[in-house]
């Protein structure tokens, strides 16, 4: 049986973890080993802005040990990601370079949305019931050290995904500055989280009842998985039993809790905060069932790796869920929030994607870039919510200020830039490179996608659905766009060059617009 051995490393805010997997077509993703080392990188970076040298030394030492373990398993490949502690460290680039020099391990810093998307993928990929659960209204709560991500699903679609601060480690550190008595803890935590939670409810939930909560965290999930709370089935507890469990915690001392739950005492404070946060969320959402599948970021990393390298058979582990659709759903949700017309964006998406698909050999862009193009098409008009003038600039600002689950910061910047330059003057690299997050590759991607978006915009200037039947053919250095419509295309023909010139500049291909009238 052919299989790959893969290591996923998560440089988290309070723990360094590595999981070793075997990935095969036949057996899917199988966990072989899970190594964890407690190291509170978040304590440094959240509050001092940098990770101190002693902790960096410790991190390097542990990563060297991880390297030895990887060698012992003869792993074929690995992927290491840093989350909020690394992300929020001011000297992140220096730090990551140092780590790579000392350990040989390359770590990529994940944006929050990428991280949450991987967590989410790990749940969806590991759990067979996932699809049926999210068909009902479900909140996906991902509690991290720095923040908490809440995503809402309804009828199999992602409705929204929002990031709320603080996470448990950040909260513990903030509480350390507050002088309080143990019986006050619950109230203080409530004060700290409920304002954000109330806003979330107002904006995204309304009166709707959320039936299920899916939980990803490092502490409560353990307890549920180990059946310390009466379970309905593996990993699932009624919220009633869960709330009883949370109440029981306040009557006990940390040592007692540690003994009764088989946890290290040092983890009890974080467990308690995690449990309290979940309690308030359950109460706020009115959920009936809590489901803690006990997965971690490493599982998502492994899934992503398997997916990218086509290591899983289409039916392995049953993966019916479409993650790209979640990203697009999220973008459509943003559009709805900014009252941007859905019909208009659908038409624009169709034209842009038709052009993109017809010139695969020319643009050399990836399937992922197609998603970015589609996002740009969807979000192109959201800036109208602010002002009808400078729509590009306004849309850019909205997009860069909004978290789109599943996108890295660079990808989000690409989408926002494409939206901006669809209507604004294109800034060439020497201007654009002021934006430190964009490299030359990203710049070229923006140029290529902008060219397609501008061209597609030029084909239906009044947004009247003139291009519902579009055929695109690339021949003799020309891209022939044939629109089958009886609508008046005078305006489009007249101004076509204005929209096509940038395309010609980027691809050195001349777009030609043709109209084919239908027989009446």
């Amino acid at each position: 049986m052919a299989y790959k051995t893969f290591a996923a490393i998560d440089v988290g805010s309070y723990e360094l973890a590595m999981k070793i997997y075997e990935i095969s077509n036949k057996n899917g993703i199988k966990e072989i080993d899970h190594i964890r080392h407690r190291i509170e990188l978040g304590t440094d970076s959240y509050f001092m802005g940098k990770i101190n040298n002693d902790r960096v030394d410790e991190l390097c030492r542990m990563l060297n040990e991880f390297m030895a373990i990887m060698r012992s398993y003869k792993v074929d490949d690995y992927k290491a990601y840093g989350t909020s502690a690394i992300r929020e460290s001011q000297n992140r680039l220096i730090l990551l370079d140092q780590i790579e020099t000392w350990t040989g391990i390359h770590i990529d810093a994940l944006s929050n949305s990428e991280q949450r998307f991987l967590d989410y993928k790990s749940v969806a990929s590991r759990v067979k019931d996932f699809q049926s659960i999210i068909e009902k209204s479900t909140a996906f709560i991902d509690i991290g050290g720095g923040s908490v991500q809440i995503s809402l699903f309804d009828e199999d679609s992602l409705v929204t995904s929002q990031n709320i601060r603080p996470g448990v480690l950040r909260m513990r550190e903030e509480l350390a500055r507050v002088s309080y008595r143990s019986y006050q803890l619950e109230d203080i935590v409530e004060e700290m989280v409920c304002d954000s939670l109330d806003s979330f409810r107002e904006m995204f939930v309304g009166d709707k009842k959320i039936q299920n909560v899916i939980l990803v965290d490092d502490y409560v999930s353990q307890i549920v998985q180990r059946n310390y709370i009466k379970t309905i089935k593996k990993g699932q507890v009624s919220t009633e039993h869960f709330l009883e469990f949370v109440d029981s915690l306040k009557k006990k001392k940390a040592r007692e809790i540690a003994m009764s739950l088989g946890l290290a005492q040092e983890n009890i404070a974080l467990l308690h905060l995690s449990a309290l946060m979940i309690k308030y969320m359950i109460k706020l959402l009115g959920a009936e069932m809590l489901w803690a599948p006990g997965v971690s970021l490493c599982d998502g990393i492994a899934y992503e790796y398997a997916e990218q390298n086509c290591l899983l058979s289409s039916d392995a582990d049953g993966m019916p869920h479409d993650f790209e659709q979640d990203i697009l759903d999220c973008a459509r949700d943003i559009n709805r929030r900014y009252h941007s017309g859905e019909y208009r964006t659908r038409e624009r998406e169709m034209i842009a994607l038709t052009i993109f698909d017809s010139m695969k050999e020319i643009h050399g862009l990836s399937r992922r870039d197609r998603v970015l193009l589609q996002l740009a098409a969807i979000l192109g008009d959201c800036g109208r919510f602010i002002s009808l003038a400078s729509v590009g600039e306004n849309s850019y600002n909205i997009i860069t200020a909004t978290e789109i689950i599943g996108l890295s910061h660079v990808e989000r910047e690409v989408v926002a830039s494409v939206v901006k330059y669809a209507t604004e003057k294109f800034d060439y690299y020497h201007i654009m490179d002021d934006n430190a997050s964009l490299d030359k590759e990203a710049y070229l991607k923006i140029a290529k996608l902008t060219a397609i978006i501008r061209l597609s915009d030029g084909m239906d200037l009044s947004n009247r659905g003139k291009c519902s039947k579009l055929k695109v053919v690339n021949k003799n250095d020309e891209l022939v766009l044939t629109v089958e419509t009886n609508a008046d295309m005078t305006l489009e023909f007249g101004l076509f060059d204005k929209y096509a010139s940038f395309f010609a500049e980027v691809y050195n291909i001349k777009p030609v617009l043709r109209q084919k009238k239908s027989n009446i």
């Binding site: 049986m1 299989y3 051995t5 723990e15 075997e22 095969s24 057996n27 199988k30 072989i32 080993d33 899970h34 190594i35 964890r36 080392h37 407690r38 040990e65 030895a68 060698r71 012992s72 398993y73 003869k74 353990q222 998985q225 180990r226 003994m259 088989g262 290290a264 006990g294």
Partner: protein
């Protein structure tokens, strides 16, 4: 977790000290039971010698660790009472009295029973060099000149030569000597001889590099005769102190506090620190002085004063000091008829000698019962892993290993073959520290990743993990045992082990080694329970579950076999379970702080101790679980040190066949009528009186029965093998009929 002093829902407060025995006295009672074997006339003479030697060796260790610890507590003014309600000073007092009695009994057995019997059986012990005949004198003097003299370092004490270091456990000869030409020097230790000469103290260590027992030429009637080395030296003392007259000389031996402790958190290099402490062990406070009965008082005073030893810690010995030489005597040739015929550990039927052990383990979990079955599969497991190209990693814990350990050699070989080998060598394994330092260094040199142990904990669990990359993916093979990875003691200690490739246990084993390597605990355990974090709670949970079952009128029973039982929380839980009707049968070889016949327990607790030819060492735990029995094995006893200060593993027996086999081990021991001794309410142990029990009860010696069963099993297997190689002719049935 229960608190010994807290009130329970019971009518009785089982935390009260009156319900517990003192552990030191219980240990002395155990050593008395071993001494009982030396007194047992039914046992072959040389086996009795061996048992007497074992009691002496046990007692040495008891002094160096337990008595030393009590003395430390007394010196530090520590007055906290033990579970039996005794302060350290009170314990020391009773221990002292009991030890003197025990030593008296040891020499009574030696002098009154064993020496005459030896003589009757053709072996004479020449007790004093003064009893040697002229011919023998020439022999021993020649022996002294050729072999002994070159290795001796005689030391006299005067103003320029201070009192020498007397090494822990060493046997020495002390003498009072006077100069042949008297000078005017005086010294603290100088005394006047009866002739008015000034006496000085001199000493020489009996060299441990030479055999203690020296055979003299056979007598004309064929009787073998032996003399002890110290007698030969004593006879030749004048040759060691040429310018002196030997006024008197007597053997003496001291025991020092060998219980070292250091702050592990402050220690940068554990290995170096332990090496340093081992050297210091030779300088520990003297806690016991053994001298030959009749020693010159002047000589005794000098030794006592210099070693700063209390009068009550002086043992006046009516015979040779240090009876551990009897264990060597056991091996004397020509007396095979006075020993049990040696038992050869039998092959394990599931594994043929040249089998691929991994293939066999894949077929089924394999139970190993030592010493009835050979330890070879465990060694082969590592050896095959070392050579197997599919093996990626070998991980193992080592607590005590043999002198020339094939396991160490295999691990080193594996590292040299490019496997990732991680070994936790417990440097703090008491009295094996030096050995383990040597092994640790050897393994490191071979390229193994060696962990010296964990700060503040001793790693006592016995686990091996072999990670193998196979066609179907990575597979983990695990050995879990109750006894050490020591091929030598595996021939003497009764232990159990399991070889398995059960995936869930493999996952747990990986997590164990991750924890031992310093990583965080796993998110959960499948089957294993580890001390010090989870094991005690697990045991208490299992005991309490039986209690609840009994209260609900469901079947409830506990059978537990271990070496020692002294954890107060566990004992209290057992009392409470018994008071609710749980039948509890305990097989505790050594220390047992639990009492029987405690009020409210309705005689539901029965404790037996089996002391036999093999050292009972397995830890097995049976819980009835309302008719769905669970069986576990462990590296841990029910002692606070095991449950709170050591890394130990409790593992379940999952396979139904294996469960049956392990239950059989318990069941046979519960049927033992020959070696089992029952703890009485007054604290004494009594064997079953076969006359009272009735003749219908057949005699069972569990260890002998196991020997027979495993020999029969191996023979059956061999016969099956032979049959399989026989052609089977077929006949025409019609003609046959």
């Amino acid at each position: 977790m229960g608190d010994k002093n807290s009130k329970s829902d019971n009518k009785y407060d089982y935390g009260r000290s009156e319900y517990y025995y003192n552990r030191e006295l219980s240990w002395l009672a155990f050593n008395n039971r071993v001494l009982g074997e030396a007194r047992d006339k039914e046992i072959p003479l040389f086996e009795r010698l061996k048992f007497l030697g074992i009691t002496a060796s046990n007692l040495d260790e008891f002094f160096m660790v337990r008595v030393a610890s009590l003395k430390d507590m007394v010196n530090a003014g520590y007055t906290k009472k033990d579970i039996a309600g005794m302060t350290p000073a009170e314990q020391l007092e009773v221990v002292n009295r009991a030890t003197h009695e025990l030593v008296g009994l040891q020499y009574s057995v030696y002098n009154k029973s064993l020496l005459p019997l030896l003589a009757q059986n053709g072996l004479t012990m020449i007790e004093s060099h003064e009893d040697l005949v002229r011919k023998d004198c020439a022999f021993v003097d020649r022996y002294f000149q050729d072999y002994v003299y070159p290795v001796l370092t005689p030391m006299a004490v005067d103003s320029s030569r201070p009192f020498p270091l007397i090494r822990n456990k060493s046997l020495n000869l002390g003498a009072l000597v006077s100069r042949k030409t008297v000078k005017s020097r005086r010294h603290l230790f100088n005394k006047k001889s009866s002739q008015g000469k000034e006496l000085e103290f001199a000493t020489v260590q009996v060299p441990s590099v030479l055999p203690r027992i020296i055979q003299l030429p056979e007598a004309a009637d064929g009787t073998k005769r032996v003399i002890l080395l110290e007698q030969i030296i004593e006879r030749n003392m004048d040759k060691l102190f040429l310018n002196y007259n030997i006024e008197c000389s007597f053997p003496f031996r001291i025991m020092r506090n060998a219980d070292f402790s250091f702050d592990e958190d402050e220690t940068e290099d554990l290995l170096k620190e332990i090496e340093k402490q081992l050297k210091k062990r030779q300088w520990g406070q003297a806690i016991r002085l053994e001298v030959e009965e009749g020693i010159d008082r002047r000589l005794l005073d000098i030794i006592r004063k210099e070693l700063m030893i209390d009068e009550r810690d002086i043992y006046s010995i009516p015979g040779p000091l240090d009876l551990t030489f009897l264990m060597k005597m056991y091996g004397l040739e020509g007396f095979e008829h006075l020993r049990y015929s040696p038992y050869t550990p039998q092959p394990v039927p599931e594994i043929e000698p040249d089998d691929d052990i991994f293939e066999r383990i894949r077929e089924q979990d394999i139970l190993l019962h030592h010493p009835y079955q050979t330890f070879a599969p465990v060694v082969d497991f590592i050896k095959q892993a070392a050579k197997d190209p599919q093996v990626l990693a070998i991980k193992q814990t080592l607590y005590r290993v043999s002198g020339n350990s094939p396991i160490i050699a295999a691990l080193a070989q594996a590292a040299e073959n490019g496997k990732q080998v991680s070994v936790l060598v417990e440097l703090k394994a008491r009295f094996d520290e030096e050995n383990n330092i040597v092994w640790a260094k050897k393994l490191e040199q071979a390229g193994c990743h060696v962990i010296y142990g964990l700060v503040g904990l001793k790693t006592h669990c016995k686990i091996t993990l072999v990670v193998r990359r196979e066609e179907e993916g990575i597979r983990r093979y695990v050995h879990l045992g109750t006894g050490n990875y020591n091929d030598a003691t595996a021939k003497l200690y009764t232990d159990l082990g399991i070889l398995t490739c059960n995936e869930a246990i493999g996952e747990d084993a990986t997590a164990v080694f991750n924890m031992l390597s310093g990583y965080s605990e796993p998110l959960g355990w499948n089957h294993l329970a580890l001390a010090p974090l989870w094991l005690k709670d697990r045991f208490l949970y299992l005991i309490n579950r039986e209690k609840e079952n009994a209260m609900e009128k469901r079947p409830a029973k506990i059978v537990a076999k271990m070496n020692s039982l002294c954890d107060p929380d566990v004992i209290k839980a057992l009392y409470e379970a018994a008071s609710k009707g749980v039948k509890i049968q305990l097989i505790v070889r050594g220390i047992c702080c639990l009492r029987t016949g405690v009020e409210g327990t309705n005689d539901n607790i029965e404790v037996r101790s089996i002391v036999g030819n093999f050292l009972e060492h397995a830890r097995i735990f049976y819980f009835e679980n309302a008719g769905d029995p669970e069986l576990y094995m462990a590296s841990a006893d029910w002692m606070p040190r095991n449950l709170e200060r050591r890394v130990e593993i409790l593992f379940p027996v999952l396979n139904a066949d294996l469960k049956e086999k392990v239950w059989h081990v318990l069941e046979v021991q519960l049927r033992d009528t020959q070696k089992a001794q029952f703890l009485q309410a007054d604290g004494s142990y009594r064997k079953i009186d076969s006359r009272q029990e009735g003749k219908e009860k057949s005699a069972v010696n569990a260890q002998e029965l196991f020997c027979k069963e495993y020999v029969a099993l191996a023979a059956k297997k061999e016969k099956e093998g032979q049959q399989a190689r026989t052609f089977k002719p077929e006949y025409n049935q019609a003609i046959q009929n």
